[in-house]
């Protein structure tokens, strides 16, 4: 039996296997991260996730671009849609609590600001944004609620951050909603689950140099 083809085959197979193992390790962060969300959060922790500057249109019809800025303001950013009955309302409640903490500590001049990006541009009209703000007692000085000024701007921001909104078949969306900590230059410094809002606030205050 000619053993040469078997030897070269085993060598080729070993090389292919090694290459594929190396690729898999690269794609899963050393076989530790199996989901896109875990990879996204790792990228944020490492400072590799950048939020592009995107103009947001508020309930009052004003357009404002929160970052980048030279004021050193740090943002806690979430993604909502105003018709959302579940997670966005929960986010809203957490943001109401965050706002209360910021107001107690800094009054209207907080180095940490809250931003809610409403991504359903078709339905998140200024009047709906206003209702959302009223429902959650949002204070304009501390909490910016706005929708990206254009569809392209919305796509740019969501894609850059890896936020994906999937139609739920009932007229709403399911999305990887979480609190994004974004510094004044637009670098995402961490992504936190809703119930981790105290940690998000603590880290935000650290970034502004405020004693916690």
């Amino acid at each position: 039996m000619n053993r040469r083809p078997l030897a070269t085959t085993l060598l080729a197979t070993a090389l292919l296997s090694l290459a594929l193992v190396a690729l898999s390790a690269q794609l899963t962060d050393g076989f530790t991260r199996w989901t896109f969300e875990a990879l996204r959060r790792d990228a944020a922790d490492a400072g590799h996730l950048l939020a592009p500057a995107v103009p947001l249109r508020t309930a009052h019809g004003e357009t404002t671009t929160p970052w980048p800025n030279n004021a050193g303001t740090v943002y806690l950013v979430d993604f909502i849609y105003t018709r959302c009955p579940t997670i966005c309302q929960a986010l809203g409640s957490e943001y109401t609590r965050l706002q209360h903490q910021l107001r107690e500590r800094f009054g209207a001049h907080s180095p940490v600001r809250l931003v809610s990006v409403a991504f359903d541009r078709e339905h998140d009209t200024p009047i709906e944004l206003l209702h959302y703000a009223q429902r959650h007692r949002a204070d304009d000085a501390l909490w910016l609620i706005g929708t990206p000024a254009s569809a392209a701007a919305a796509d740019t921001l969501l894609q850059a951050l890896g936020v994906v909104a999937v139609p739920d078949g009932l007229g709403g969306f399911v999305h990887n909603g979480a609190i994004h900590l974004i510094d004044s230059q637009g670098t995402v410094r961490g992504i936190y689950d809703l119930d981790q809002w105290p940690q998000a606030l603590e880290r935000a205050l650290q970034l502004t140099g405020t004693p916690t």
């Binding site: 039996m1 000619n2 040469r4 083809p5 078997l6 070269t8 085959t9 085993l10 080729a12 197979t13 292919l16 296997s17 594929l20 690729l23 898999s24 794609l27 899963t28 991260r33 199996w34 989901t35 896109f36 969300e37 875990a38 990879l39 894609q159 890896g162 994906v164 999937v166 739920d168 078949g169 399911v174 999305h175 990887n176």
Partner: protein
Amino acid sequence: MRRRLPWALAALPLLLWVTPLRQLLESRMLPHMLVELPLLFIAGWALARALGPRARLPAAIDAHGLLGLTWVSAVSALWMIPSMLDLSLLDARLQWAKYLAWWLAGGVGRGSLSRAGPVVGVFFLGNIAWMLATAGLLYQEAPQRLCVSYLLDEQIVTGQGLIVLAVLIGALAVRRLMAPISPAGACHPAPTSAE
């Protein structure tokens, strides 16, 4: 007609250039994993069939079909990872790499499986079936979404679909093992003259 069918199947991936069709297949998890990926594999298989022996990997590096079947196993395993499904929807490079990898898997799979003896063939088919079943159970049982692009309900149904596919491949492996061993199917490298 029968001659044209493999070519028609081989050309199926070209339909993925049609964005609405691609979105239709990929906007839900079940057609993405259990229609698109198998169709790409079948398209590659059909192309290999249409091209005949010249589509095989060189015998010198594919004795017993080991190299080709390793590729098929690796591609199957890689695309069971939840992050790979999401990344293929969010990164155009990975999207086209996915199409090419599965298409190639079908192409080399046909030639390599015909080279493999019953034991080697069953080993690889069994491994793929086991891996699909494991991934299927994981998708079915996970309490939260594993892919940001898909809903939890779809994930559960896809998990069940993967288990069904695993059973079918497992049955194919058993059938292969039960088949009488012919000299051509025995564990001998294919003669180089056939290449």
